[in-house]
Subunit: 247 residues, 2 copies
């Protein structure tokens, strides 16, 4: 732990996986430097992300986002949120609730990876344009089967919360709710037709999305330049040819 | 926490993701019932896995493995290992080391998901035989690029551990080391040619693999019927046409 602002390292032009961390920092009102978004002459740019990945550390990160808090360097969204959740009251305080928040975040991570792979089904390091045929097939399965499975599951979680708080776990907002907001925003951006078709079956998720967006710190964040728009460079990309909802 | 044996729920015919949990339970010498491997008349079989997924719980699991400890029901391998690591001394005791173990486990989970997707690149719910062309392309990228990236990363972690323990994090064995053993076994099974080609660059991983296999409880486990063999039904499948190592 450090009194300095957190330092977040993530690709500067996309919300991507960094956004799950940014939303938690915004809700916590925690000061942070979004390092790669600084001008290059101030140590920013994508080069700053590469630099942190190459640092000699006892446990180095393989990929961003990376959160630096004094001597502590953490990677993997769910690990970073495990840490921030405890520090900023963004996770249940009881051990079971804390573990369940982590479990749900990992299930969100699975959904995010599958959403990403709709446009990169066979070669992560190559262009979408070079794997469009495979992408159509994967996207049909994603929009027709997988998206409903995952979102239906989260609806069940929200609806079945014994505290009837409307949140995913426990009686207060946690980082899981912030991440579910981002997933709903991202899927709504990338697959507007497929998402619209499911909306009627996801009333709790819709309510949660509105409620998160209306929280004062999140609302201020979303209107600020700190919030990056979705685009065709990130995880959630709007390629109309993939928004097919086969079933 | 409960004095009863743990109950593990996972598909009864494959090692799969359940194996990462089984290895931790074996090393901890923790009594557990591998529920789905019981005869059906004793409540076992795949139906027992379906049953636990359908239970009404405050936070239900979406998929196995599921670990039940008294009233606590946990899913997601890394969440289960976070719990078992603390309870059985299979993770560093210091907060940073504990988080780093979780971070490494999530990076292993990313590698496992990519290994799985080599044979199911476009439709998780359909047969391999119906996506062989796409699988060849994804496997070429995996064996030619991604496998070296991930395994090279873990080699760097093992080699750079400041304690020079030969383990991934800290000066003692953790669940991360057990999982790295399983990944090396699985990749060596599924992609013998591609894995063999990388071996010379992975001396630390090779040493770790031998060392884990030689631990008395793990050695006894590996020789017991509790250990399930790899097959063409799990994550790591030996399809010679996918073992191409394009680069």
């Amino acid at each position: 732990m450090s009194d300095e602002p957190y330092r977040l390292y993530y690709w500067p032009s996309i919300p991507g996986r960094g956004e799950f961390v940014r939303l938690a920092l915004a809700e916590a009102d925690a000061p942070y430097v979004d390092v790669a978004r600084l001008p290059e002459r101030e140590g920013g740019g994508a080069a700053s992300v590469i630099e942190v990945l190459r640092r000699e550390l006892s446990v180095p990160p393989l990929a961003p986002p990376v959160l630096v808090d004094g001597p502590l360097v953490l990677a993997q969204v769910a690990t970073i949120l495990l840490y921030l959740g405890d520090r900023h009251g963004l996770a249940p305080a009881d051990p079971a609730g804390r573990l369940h928040a982590n479990q749900l975040q990992l299930t969100i991570a699975d959904l995010v990876a599958e959403a990403h792979d709709t446009h990169h089904p066979v070669a992560m390091g190559e262009y979408y344009e070079d794997q469009m045929a495979e992408a159509r097939r994967r996207a049909a399965h994603f929009t027709g089967v997988r998206m409903a499975k995952f979102l239906g599951y989260f609806e069940r979680v929200l609806d079945g919360n014994p505290s009837a708080s409307g949140f995913a776990v426990g009686d207060r907002l946690s980082y899981v709710d912030l991440s579910l907001f981002q997933v709903a925003e991202g899927l709504g951006y990338a697959f507007p037709r497929a998402f619209e078709r499911l909306r009627g079956r996801l009333p709790r998720l819709g309510e949660l999305r509105d409620r998160v967006a209306a929280r004062p710190r999140i609302a201020a964040y979303l209107e600020s330049p700190r919030r990056l728009p979705f685009s065709e460079g990130g995880i959630f990309r709007r390629y109309p040819e993939l928004d097919i909802a086969a079933i």
